[in-house]
Symmetry: C2
Subunit: 327 residues, 2 copies
């Protein structure tokens, strides 16, 4: 179909993990410092003249305690818009949405039950308020970010599998020079009436349709570990190879006891799937020949991952998990 | 096309005028009291058992100054969802969005100019933040409201005329029992790259496609006057008749000096079109056989308009402007 391609090749899809940008144990609380750092790193990675100190903010909203719009609004000249690579941001929910969704069981469906219906509305309010704050944070860094809710885009599922997902509007937004910011959302399901569509499933779908050069998952730990990362002997998995049939194996480091099954885990607050789901989703992306990097948000390692530097090879001092196709 | 109809006939489209729900001279400030009253009136008009004092709120977000979700979340029983008429809410921008849009000239297009591009992003941030607050206000009244942005829905214009506006998602939301809440938005334009799509144009399109029984415009004055309503002799136009060719004339009250052209006006803060635009839009709706009522938000008159009571005839004590087709 002709509209399935963007005019420029998509450089990257960035996942902002809910655990990386929200305070996971505090209801509906953004980790402002992390979010600001992540937004700044995203700008530096994708905007060509981002060495310029003159970032022109695109969030002109009233700031708390002020009654006027910010004064920099008068600083826009008539220079052309800075050249930017095209990319998409998808974020999880963290401490937004999960309470509402799990309290009501939105993922299990059944909109005729008042609790589910109210939970659907409450979940959307919570996740769209997080989306708005992320869009604002990116816009303050001069990134032309545009919030797009999967529900409003008309995306829906059938028995929790993504079926309808017209991405033509995402493509139009990219071609117009904007950065779409999508999120995990409550959506309609043709079989069970409603469910939760996770950010990771959205990314897999977008990756399959738009074939970005690479995908970066930014989370609150360094990557995938062989056991819970709080345990003293936890080993960071550095590289996973994915074969043509979708199966995958750890290639680096060489794990000593290969007879014992590895308990993959991260400390992420994520009711839509644990680490095995994450690796499985990542493996499905890697199978398409798209490198996937999982690393900690706001570090030198995330800077390297976002910049595309890792495409040439993974240096030994890079800490994170690379999931790549190996023919 | 089969998807152009909702399962139940749409009862009403409600326009919340920006001037009625925001403080028009204070940047990005909601008129909380008015918005709460309007939300409550909307619930009473459309939910069948709304005499019940037991309204179960659907906004489960953390309240300011609290760290927990509201406790009523535990009060949802397993009784079926209250029967509600189907309707759509569309709101204007008021003191949200207008500053950003007019400062940058988004309506004139030209996304390659940094000011326009930034203004587009800033406008969407501002109007979507208002949309979120309106959705929350309606949800607190137990209305299953769902925010849907025209941009995300994929709606666009060509030379500022609405061209692409797939309403299938609006229909699906209604059929699932939700109340879509749409808003004036910055959208892409195939000829001039971008523009502003006003709430009134959205309503005309939805009315033409979905044929509601009636349309209510809630504003900050009683209706359409023959001159600025602050003038002492301003006369409220009570009824306008629309003929088949779209032309319209005042039928009540009989204006004394018919030789002098009437200066229609309201004190609305509205850069997307003044009162003549509003009457022209309303006349195009009325031409389809759909009654249009313009009245002041939060009054007994708006209660009557929302309830459908005026369909039987306009009582003398109703203050507002009715715009109706007269064959």
């Amino acid at each position: 179909m002709e509209h399935k391609k963007t005019a420029k090749r998509l450089r990257c899809i960035v996942k902002l993990g809910g655990a990386a940008i929200t305070c996971k144990n505090k209801l509906e609380t953004i980790d402002e410092e992390n979010l600001k750092e992540v937004s700044s790193q995203i700008r530096q990675a994708f905007v060509s003249d981002s060495t310029s100190a003159n970032v022109l903010g695109m969030d002109w909203s009233k700031r708390p305690g002020q009654s006027e719009a910010p004064s920099f609004v008068n600083d826009f000249g008539d220079q052309p818009v800075a050249d930017s690579e095209s990319y998409i941001v998808v974020h999880g929910a963290g401490s937004f949405g999960h309470f509402q969704a799990s309290k009501s069981g939105v993922h299990k469906g059944g909109l005729s039950r008042p609790l589910v219906k109210a939970g659907f509305v409450a979940t959307r309010i919570s996740v769209t308020s997080l989306n708005l704050e992320i869009v604002r944070s990116l816009a303050r860094e001069g990134i032309p970010s545009i919030g797009m809710s999967p529900f409003s885009c008309g995306w829906s599922t059938c028995q929790r599998n993504m079926t309808e997902a017209d991405i033509s509007m995402v493509i139009k937004a990219i071609d117009a020079g904007f950065i779409p910011v999508l999120h995990g959302d409550a959506v309609l399901d043709t079989l069970q009436e409603c469910t939760i569509l996770s950010g990771d499933v959205i990314i897999r779908h977008l990756a399959a349709e738009l074939k970005p050069e690479f995908v970066v998952f930014l989370t609150d730990v360094l990557g995938v570990f062989d056991r819970p990362p709080v345990e003293p002997d936890a080993v960071l998995i550095r590289e996973i190879a994915v074969r043509e049939d979708g199966s995958w194996s750890v290639v680096k480091p060489k794990l000593e006891d290969t007879s014992k099954p590895v308990e993959f885990t991260v400390a992420a607050h994520d009711t839509t799937g644990g680490m095995v789901t994450k690796i499985t989703e990542a493996a499905m992306i890697a199978k398409l020949g798209i490198d996937v990097y999982i690393t900690k948000a706001g570090t030198d390692h995330s800077v390297k991952a976002l910049s595309g530097f890792l495409k040439g090879g993974i240096p030994d001092d890079w800490l994170g998990t690379a999931i790549r196709y190996m023919s």
